[in-house]
Amino acid sequence: MASKLALFKASLLSHIACRSVHRSQIQLPCHVPVTIAQRGFAVSSRRRLMEMSGFTTEQMDVREAVSKICSKYPDEYWAEHDESGVYPHELHADLAKDGWIGIALPEELGGAGLGISEATMMLHTIAESGAGIAGAQSIHANVYATQPVAKFATPEQRHRMLPKLIAGETRTCFGVTEPNTGLETLKLKTTARKDGDSYLVSGQKIWISSAQVATKMVLLARTTPLEEVKKPSEGLSLFFVDLDKSAPGLELKRIKKMGGRAIDANEIFFDNFKISADTLIGKEGQGFKIVLHGMNAERCLLAGEALGIGYAALKRAANYANERVVFGRPIGMNQGIQHPLASAYMHLEAAKLATYHAARLYDSSTEDPTITQHAVGIACNSAKYLAAEAAFAACERAVSGSVLCCGGRPEIGCGCLD
């Protein structure tokens, strides 16, 4: 990345130079590197694509501040990491340093006490910066999977589990999906059997993102056999466990992916893997209801990430349509190019409304008892579906206009379009 940064500095210097720097500045026989360029200076196009009216000042602040951080990471950074499969540790560290991991966690734990409405804007902004799903996924489990922990853990647990994560010292992954029980979460087979002060976990998880770099896992496992549960929604329990990869009974296998390769996806095998009993979050058997708080939050974040990718693709497509001259004029003058892009834009705008509506419901449901969890669930799921559809259409149109690649396929990550 070093040489990339150097290039970047040079381009910044010439850029600022032509806008504003006194001539003596650039003619100086200097050995001192220009430090301001350490910060990324992406060139933004004149027009904002996404309509920004109606966002709160908090959301606007988040967008502004996070896009500054992301501007340090040029497209080449993400292309390189997608190629090499190396985790974007730097982005996680940068975001943690300035307090972004704890955006939606309580202030008393070192968080900012904002909500999913702001966190969605954060992940939306990260994805839109060119970081795509890979950039967003480098932190997103730490944002959504910790929601149920913050809500249902005891004060002692919260203080033990979250401040270090907010500070960026620890990271978590989310262990729910299993090979034979994907969407059918209530049929999960991985078991956690009580054994004195511990539970012994056995079974298999799949598609667990970031498990290679995480030292914690939010784990959903069965504590009552399926045959013995009274209600179908009971029998599962939620744990916030240490993921010590050298401990006995734990094995990870990295899955090869088509895109978003900088973030590892894994199969995880548990064989009497020992976890401490004090990692149980909330009551035994209530894990499903508890984890839904995380999943609804996740849906909002993912919807935001999809929007980010969609707008990024559309912006590049629009720029290309304006620049590419064929038959003596920009291809963007042709209605055949304009209409699909305009349609993609309208779908993104609509999905944006659905997304931030869902996030608002999620946040206000804690204070407003008339907003049921059912209503929140419908809004969050719909938002994710609509945003993924809109983003996919935008990417497809951008690419079929022979323009671009996009940073990941939101519609196949974490929960499918359906």
Partner: protein, 253 residues
């Protein structure tokens, strides 16, 4: 001395990354684009905050901006970076200020707030006038050090290193004084999320030009604004000889 009272004027300008475009009537540039804090003013705020972090006694860092309603956002950013409070003089359309007007206004603020150090950007990247700091120092009768690349304060003695053609120059002066900042001075921080939240609770005083009773009438008239001539396309040469003869032809050799 109970500590410095630093005044940091900040300006809302078209974002450095936006390519400005001349408006249809050729009276200025299209301003319906992203705006941010003038990059040189970020350096000023950063330096003020660093002075405090380096344990130079700093009683207060005051961020000041004169401009449209949205300039308040820039003051909030300055407060998120570490300024303690802000003053916003709201200028409506038709009340745009020229460097002399700003300098007069700042003089009033300095007097009202008992500031003893003013750190300004050496210029703002919209008008590129690079005059305000100098005019302010002149009006106040204070020492000035422009284009600072290093600032050190001990007691009431200030040492400023500045970059000049062909090298560096070191100046020493006594407080109170005016300093303008240059690119190599520091690397401005990003506002952290907790600090963005705290900044919302910091006091931001709203004022109007009338409160200062100044003559800020413009003395300059913009006649016309035009784009620089478009770059002509280049040519490809086949080899080194071709390049040399082309350069000769262009009179460059």
């Amino acid at each position: 001395m109970s500590g410095l009272r630093i005044l940091v004027p900040v300006k809302r300008v078209i974002d450095y990354a936006v390519k400005p475009r001349v408006n249809r009537t050729q009276t200025g540039v299209d301003t319906n684009v992203k705006h941010s804090m003038n990059p040189f003013d970020e350096l000023s705020i950063e330096e003020a905050v660093r002075l405090r972090e380096r344990k130079t006694p700093v009683q207060e860092i005051l961020a000041f901006s004169a401009g449209p309603a949205k300039s308040a956002d820039i003051i909030r950013t300055a407060m998120a970076m570490g300024a303690d409070r802000g003053i916003h003089v709201q200028c409506n359309e038709g009340e745009e200020l020229e460097p002399l007007g700003v300098a007069k206004l700042l003089k009033k603020v300095v007097e009202g707030e008992k500031s003893d150090l003013v750190i300004l950007g050496k210029q703002s990247i919209d008008d590129d006038a690079a005059q305000t700091g100098q005019m302010l120092a002149g009006l106040l009768g204070w020492s000035q050090a422009t284009q600072a690349s290093k600032v050190q304060i001990e007691g009431d003695s200030v040492t400023v290193v500045r970059e000049v053609d062909g090298g560096v120059e070191t100046l020493k002066a006594k407080l109170p004084m005016v300093i303008t900042t240059d690119l190599r001075l520091n690397e401005p921080r990003y506002a952290s999320l907790p600090n963005i939240m705290k900044a919302k609770k910091k006091p931001l005083e709203k004022k109007t030009l009338k409160d200062y009773g100044l003559d800020t009438a413009p003395r300059l008239k913009t006649v016309k604004v035009t784009e620089p001539p478009a770059r002509k396309g280049g040519v490809k040469v086949d080899d080194v000889d071709g390049m040399i003869s082309k350069l000769k032809e262009l009179g460059a050799l």
